[in-house]
């Protein structure tokens, strides 16, 4: 089976035969890390119902969440730059259980936020933290390459300056090529390029050496283009982007902090916030609602944008909101368990809010 062969080519504990000697040290390091992860999970298995982790998906470039319930599932574990999902998204629906979960640095912020809002009990969660140097944005790879024809993929070095080696199908291949090496640097998700928290902020077991953040500070440089537009132009920009929306609500379902999906106002008839009409107004109002309900909670994990089948830049909206929050309340969500969310508190004299009472 194609998926099995690719999985074995990718799984870090069995380096593929093509790997050159020069890559051996990095391969060994990640093999060690996988061994540690397996050992730690195996040790915790008796204490939890199951562990949420990453396994190989339907092709060598896709990972999928797997539930580890026993020793036999441990062979399915992987961790590499294809592990893009935020596993914290599944947590809220599984409350009441005692779980283990594998998290990257960014995912751990979602967990911090869930714990801070008391949506999970810390004692019922065993967190396996994996320092992460970046994950792939498959859209970037897909732009230049037919990824469906890739039969195997292997990573060498750190995702920040390493290589992705793709092996293509025997028949046809990609422009007659059998293999291709691509620098992973240009394939990393945008959120990884400005990552401030590559190391999990909350964990029971830290697996592997801690890594350094990408930059000193997130300067919101990606928002500059939209900033320059006039209000009307920005209105038109969103109108055009939202025109593509098909109201599939993948953004909502992928959001780790959209914890009231089952009673979502978007589906409710009483109160009737949104109608079922497929008009721009309804689509846009949903995104505005999503942004407002995530004010002071969104950790910018980017799952909404990644899951959007129409490529709508939803994260842009969340990031613009977060920048205002930072300016106004000097607050960043999901970095501290003890922090008080800015909209759950107030100051009698707000130092950054102009007194509107003396406005006119």
């Amino acid at each position: 089976m194609a998926s099995e062969s690719s999985a074995s080519a990718l799984s870090a504990n069995e380096p593929s035969v093509n790997d050159s000697a020069a890559n051996e040290s990095s391969t060994n390091a990640s093999a060690d890390r996988m061994e540690t992860l397996r050992a730690k999970i195996a040790a915790e298995l008796p204490n939890v119902d199951f562990v949420l982790a990453y396994g190989r998906g339907f092709d060598p470039l896709h990972a999928t969440p797997v539930t580890v319930r026993g020793e036999k599932d441990l062979d399915r574990l992987i961790f590499d730059p294809t592990c893009v999902q935020n596993l914290a998204t599944s947590l809220y629906g599984l409350r009441g259980k005692r779980l283990g979960v594998v998290v990257k640095g960014c995912d751990s912020r979602s967990i911090v936020q869930l714990l801070q809002e008391r949506l999970w009990e810390r004692e019922n969660l065993v967190i396996f933290g994996l320092p992460c140097e970046g994950v792939l944005d498959l859209a970037k790879l897909r732009a230049t390459l037919d990824i469906a024809s890739a039969r195997a993929a292997s990573f060498t070095g750190s995702p920040r300056d390493g290589l992705l080696r793709l092996t293509f199908n025997d028949d046809g291949g990609h422009d007659g090529e059998r293999t291709r090496e691509i620098e992973t640097k240009g394939l990393l998700a945008d959120k990884c390029l400005r990552c401030q928290h590559p190391n999990p902020l909350v964990f029971d077991h830290m697996i592997g050496p801690e890594t350094l953040p990408q930059g000193a500070q997130d300067d919101y440089a990606d928002l500059a283009a939209l900033e320059k537009l006039s209000t009307q132009e920005r209105f038109d920009f969103w109108k055009r982007q939202m025109g593509r929306c098909i109201r599939c609500y993948a953004c909502r379902n992928a959001c780790p902090l959209c914890v009231c999906k089952h009673v979502c106002l978007a589906d409710s008839r009483e109160p009737h916030w949104l109608s079922a009409e497929a008009t721009l107004q309804e689509k846009w109002l949903f995104q505005v609602m999503h942004a407002l309900h995530l004010a002071g909670r969104c950790t910018e994990c980017g799952e909404c944008q990644r899951s959007c089948p129409m490529g709508i830049p939803i994260l842009l909206l969340k990031r613009m909101m977060n920048r205002e929050l930072k300016e106004l309340f000097n607050y960043q969500a999901g970095v501290s368990l003890e922090a008080i969310p800015p909209l759950h508190t107030f100051l009698m004299e707000e130092d950054r809010i102009k007194d509107r009472g003396l406005l006119w």
């Binding site: 008009t279 846009w284 407002l292 490529g311 809010i353 509107r356 006119w360």
Partner: protein, 184 residues
């Protein structure tokens, strides 16, 4: 150019204890006031969900005014202090979604300040008249066609994405879109 002939739709969310009383006082005193503000009485300015404002503006209101008790004077002690944070954030959020920040305002008016209420309403209404009608998210057949045509070159459809060719960047150029929209 202020358009004084057109009728605008302005929604006011007024707290029961101060601002509603203030508006009433302005009426009892027979002050002349613009008539375009439709008042919705709420128990407290803390009751005003930012979504009330967003929904009103996106559903066709040209402006929204929220008014409550002065800070420290809230009937429920602290409702307006929570509201202040929420509404200030909303005020900064509106330009992000392409709504002019002048279309939304929150003010504090007490029950005895009838003349102050008159001034607030007059000034806010004037401001809305200057801004003109709220742009609509209307979809016409023409817009839909244009949007459909653009689907092909979005980053979601990478097979049709040819980097380097005009218009084939991840976020489309504004000029192309304007060309279509201006035709309406």
């Amino acid at each position: 150019m202020p358009d004084m002939d057109r009728d605008y739709r302005i929604i006011g969310f007024l707290c029961n204890w101060c601002s509603y009383g203030g508006a009433d006082a302005a009426g009892v005193a027979r002050f002349n006031q613009p008539t375009e503000l439709r008042i919705i009485r709420v128990p407290c300015s803390g009751r005003v969900d930012p979504m009330f404002v967003a929904k009103a503006l996106l559903s066709g209101a040209d402006g929204v005014l929220v008014s409550g008790c002065h800070p420290r004077d809230c009937h429920y002690t602290e409702g307006n202090l929570y509201a202040r944070r929420r509404l200030e954030l909303l005020r900064r959020f509106l330009p992000i979604i392409g709504v002019d920040e002048g279309r939304f305002e929150y003010v504090w008016v007490s029950a005895s300040e009838g003349s102050r209420w008159r001034d607030m309403v007059t000034k806010f209404t004037e401001k809305i008249h200057q801004l003109g009608p709220m742009p609509r998210m209307a979809e016409t057949a023409r817009t839909l066609c244009a949007l459909e045509g653009m689907l092909g070159v979005s980053s979601a459809q990478p097979d049709m994405w040819r980097p380097g060719e005009p218009g084939h960047d991840a976020l489309l150029s504004m000029d192309e879109y304007k060309e279509v929209m201006d035709g309406e």
